[in-house]
Amino acid sequence: MDAIQLIYLVPLLPLIGCLINGLARNVLSKTIIGIIGSAVVFISFCISVLIFMQVSKEGFVTQNIRYFDFIHVGKLLIPFEFQVDQLTSLFLLIITGVGFLIHVYSISYMKEESQSGFGRYFSYLNLFVFSMLILVLGGNYVIMYIGWEGVGLCSYLLIGFWFKDQANNDAGKKAFIMNRIGDVGFLLAVFWMISAFGTASYAPLYNSENGIISSITALNSPAIVGITLLLFVGAIGKSAQIPLYTWLPDAMAGPTPVSALIHAATMVTAGIYMIARSNILYSLAPVTLAGVASIGLITAIVAAIIALKQNDIKKVLAYSTVSQLGYMFLGLGVGAYSAAVFHVMTHAFFKALLFLAAGSVIHAMGGEQDMTKMGGLGKKMKITYVTFFIATLAIAGIPPFSGFFSKDEILSAAFAQSPLLYILGVGGALLTAFYMFRALAMTFKGNFRGTAEQEHHVHESPAAMTIPLIILATLSIVGGFVGIPEVFVKNANKFNDFLSPVFAHSATFMSENHVSHQTDLILIIVSSVLIIVVSIWGYNKYKNYTPSPAVSENAFVKAVKNKFYIDEAYDILFVKPYRALGAFLNNIFDQKGIDGIVNGVGRSVNYGSRQLRLLQSGQVGSYLLLMVIGLLILFIIQLFTK
C-alpha cells in the first residue's frame, strides 16, 4: 500500500526538478543541473518500480487516489485524481526508466550548450516527464488531457529549443498545432462523454462491476462510436498517424535525446495508451476499431515507403517511428491491446536506442545528419555501432530480439482478423527491415564520405552516452522475453497475463478467433525468413554506398523522396488559404466591408447634413413655401387618412 500512497511524488519530483533547473539555471553549475535533472527522474523511477512490484502482486485491485476537486460545477465533478493499475504502472516504468537513461545521456550530449540553455533544456525535459506522467496517471480524461496537452507543450518547447533558427520554431509550431487539431478531437470526445455519461472519470465509467460503460452491451451505439472516433482523432494527432503525421519528421529539429524520449519512446505512444485505456469503449465500437486498424496499417506502410528514400538519419528514424506507431494502431485495431502495449514497450527500448545511437553518431560527426556524408563509422565507434546494430535487428523483427516478439504478436492477431491485414503488415515489416539495414549500412559501413575535418573528429562518445546505449541494447535484446508467444512456450507470455485485468472486460466482446498454433508457427517462420532475406539484401545493397550523380528517377521514386508532397499539399490546402483568408478578411472584408458600413453610416450622416442644409437656402420665399407644403402634408395626414 505504501508505494501507492507515494504516487504523487512520481510526477511531483520531475516538476520540482523542472522548477529548480528553470529558475536557477544561471546559478547552478551544469553538473549540478544535470544531476538534479536525472536524479529526480531516477527517484521517480524507483518509486515506479515499487509501485510496479505492488501492482504485480496477486489480487491487486485498481486504485484511485483523489487529491482535490479540480472542477466541480453542478452535477459535473472532475476531481484531480490518479488511477493506478497495471497499464499505468507499466507506462510509469517505461517513462521514468527510459527517461532517466536519456537524461543521463543528455548530460553529456548537451555539454556544449550555454549555461542557461543547459538549464533550460533540463527544465523542459523534466517538465516533459512530469506531463507524461500526469497523462498516464490521470484518473479521468480531463487529467489525461492536461498531460496530453502538457506533453505537446514540452514537445513544442524542445523542438524549438534552438530558437534562434526559425526553422526549428516552425517545426515546433507545426508540431503543436497538429497536435492541437488532434487535441480538439479529444476535447470534443470528453464533452460528449460528459454529456452522455455525466462523468469523465475511469472509475465510474469502466469499473468492471458497476461501471456505466461496462453495463452497456449494444455495439456501435452512435454516442460510443462518436466518442471513440473523436478520441481516435486525438490519438492520430499525438501519435502522428495519417493524416496528421507530418509534424513528427519535422520534429527532428530538436536535440536528438529529445527525439529519443519524446518523439520515439513516450509522447507519441500516448495515443496508444489512451486507446488502451479506453479499450472497453473501443471494443463496444467495432466500426471505430476497423478505422483504427486501417489508419494504422496505411500509416505503417506509407511511412515505411517514405523512409526508404530518406538520407537524413533522424528522418529515417522518424518515419520509422511513424510506421511503428502504425503497427501499434493496427494491433489496437484488431483488438490485440496488450500486444500493442507490448510493442510500445519494446519500441521504447529499441527506438530510443536507435535515436541515442544516432545522436552519438551525429555528436561525433559534429552535427552532420546526412547519411550520404557518413560511412565507415563502425570502425571508430564500436559501441555505437554494436548497439545500433542490435536495435536494427530488434526493429526489423529478427528473432529473438524484442521487436520480433511484439511485432509477431500484432501480426498474428491481424491474421486472425484477416489475412489481408497480415500480408500488408508483413510487407510493412519487410520495408522496415530494408530501410533500417540501409541506414545501418550507409552509416557504419563502406568508406567515410564526409570532410577530412569530420573524419579527424570522429570518436567514440563518452561513457555517459554509451552506458545508456548499452543498457538499452540489453533491454532490446531481452525485453521481448516477457512476452514469448504461446507457440514456443506455454504460459510464457507474462506480459499478457500482467495486463489482462485491464483488458479483461473488453475481451468479452472480442470474437476470440485465435489462430491455431501451427498456423502461427508457419506464419512466424515465413515472416522471419522473409525479413532476414530482405535485411541481408538491404545491407548488401548499401554496404558500399557511393553517392551517385543525378540518376533520372521515375515519378514514384521522386514522390517518395519528397514524402509524397504531403507537406506541400497541406501548405496549399490549409496554410496558404488561411493566410490569404486572414489578409482578405482584414484588408477587404473588415476594413472595407464592416468598418466601411460603420463609417458609411457616419459618412452618410455627413452627406445628409450637407444636403439638408441646402434646404436652408436663405430665401424667405422658399422657407414659406416649405412651410406651406409641410402644412399641406399635415392636413392630409389629419383629414384624409384614418
Binding site: G621, L625, V628, L631, L632, F635, I636, L639
Partner: protein, 171 residues
C-alpha cells in the same frame, strides 16, 4: 335673390378681385390700392352682418391708418416704379400651386363640416358699438390692459429701430 345676397356676391367678388390685384399687380402702389378695396369690401361684409363697430374700425384702422403707413413707406422708398425683377418662375409656380392646393384642401375639408350649412343670423345687435364696448371693458378688460404691453413694446421697438444712432467707437 334677396338684396343681402346680391350684396354678398358683389362684395365677395370685389374682395376677391382686390385680393388678386394685391398679389398680381406689379406696381406696389396699385397693390396698396387694391388692398384698400379689399378692406372696404370686407367692411361691407361686416355691415351686412351687422357688425358695425368692426366695420368702422376696419376702415379707420386698416384702410386709414395702416394702409397710409404702407403708402408712406412705399413713397419714401420711391418704389412706385415697377422695380421688382422677375422672381424665379418655378418658385412662383410652386407657390401658386401649393397655395391653390391648400385652398382646395381646406375648402374640400371644411365643406364637409357639420355646421357648413348652418344659417347665419345677421340681424342681431351683438356687433353694435355699445354692446361690444360693454363686453370689452367688462369681460375683456384684462386682455385689453395686456395689449397695452404689446403697444408699449411695439412703440419702444419702433423708436429703437428708427432712431439714428450716434456714431459709437467700436473696437
Amino acid at each position: 335673390m334677396e338684396i343681402t345676397q346680391i350684396l354678398f356676391w358683389f362684395l365677395s367678388a370685389l374682395a376677391l378681385f382686390g385680393a388678386i390685384g394685391v398679389v398680381a399687380s406689379k406696381n406696389p402702389i396699385y397693390s396698396v390700392l387694391c388692398l384698400i378695396i379689399v378692406f372696404f369690401a370686407i367692411s361691407g361684409h361686416y355691415v351686412l352682418m351687422n357688425a358695425q363697430f368692426l366695420a368702422i374700425v376696419n376702415i379707420i384702422v386698416y384702410a386709414g391708418a395702416i394702409m397710409v403707413l404702407f403708402l408712406f413707406v412705399i413713397m419714401l422708398m420711391n418704389l412706385n416704379a415697377e422695380t421688382e425683377p422677375m422672381k424665379n418662375v418655378y418658385m412662383k409656380l410652386a407657390g401658386v400651386i401649393s397655395g391653390l392646393t391648400l385652398m382646395i384642401v381646406l375648402v374640400a375639408a371644411l365643406s364637409h363640416s357639420d355646421s357648413a350649412n348652418t344659417l347665419m343670423r345677421p340681424g342681431t345687435s351683438v356687433g353694435l358699438t355699445e354692446n361690444l364696448g360693454k363686453a370689452l371693458f367688462n369681460q375683456y378688460v384684462v386682455p385689453f390692459e395686456i395689449s397695452s404691453v404689446l403697444f408699449l413694446s411695439a412703440m419702444v421697438g419702433a423708436i429703437l429701430i428708427g432712431k439714428k444712432d450716434v456714431v459709437k467707437n467700436r473696437i
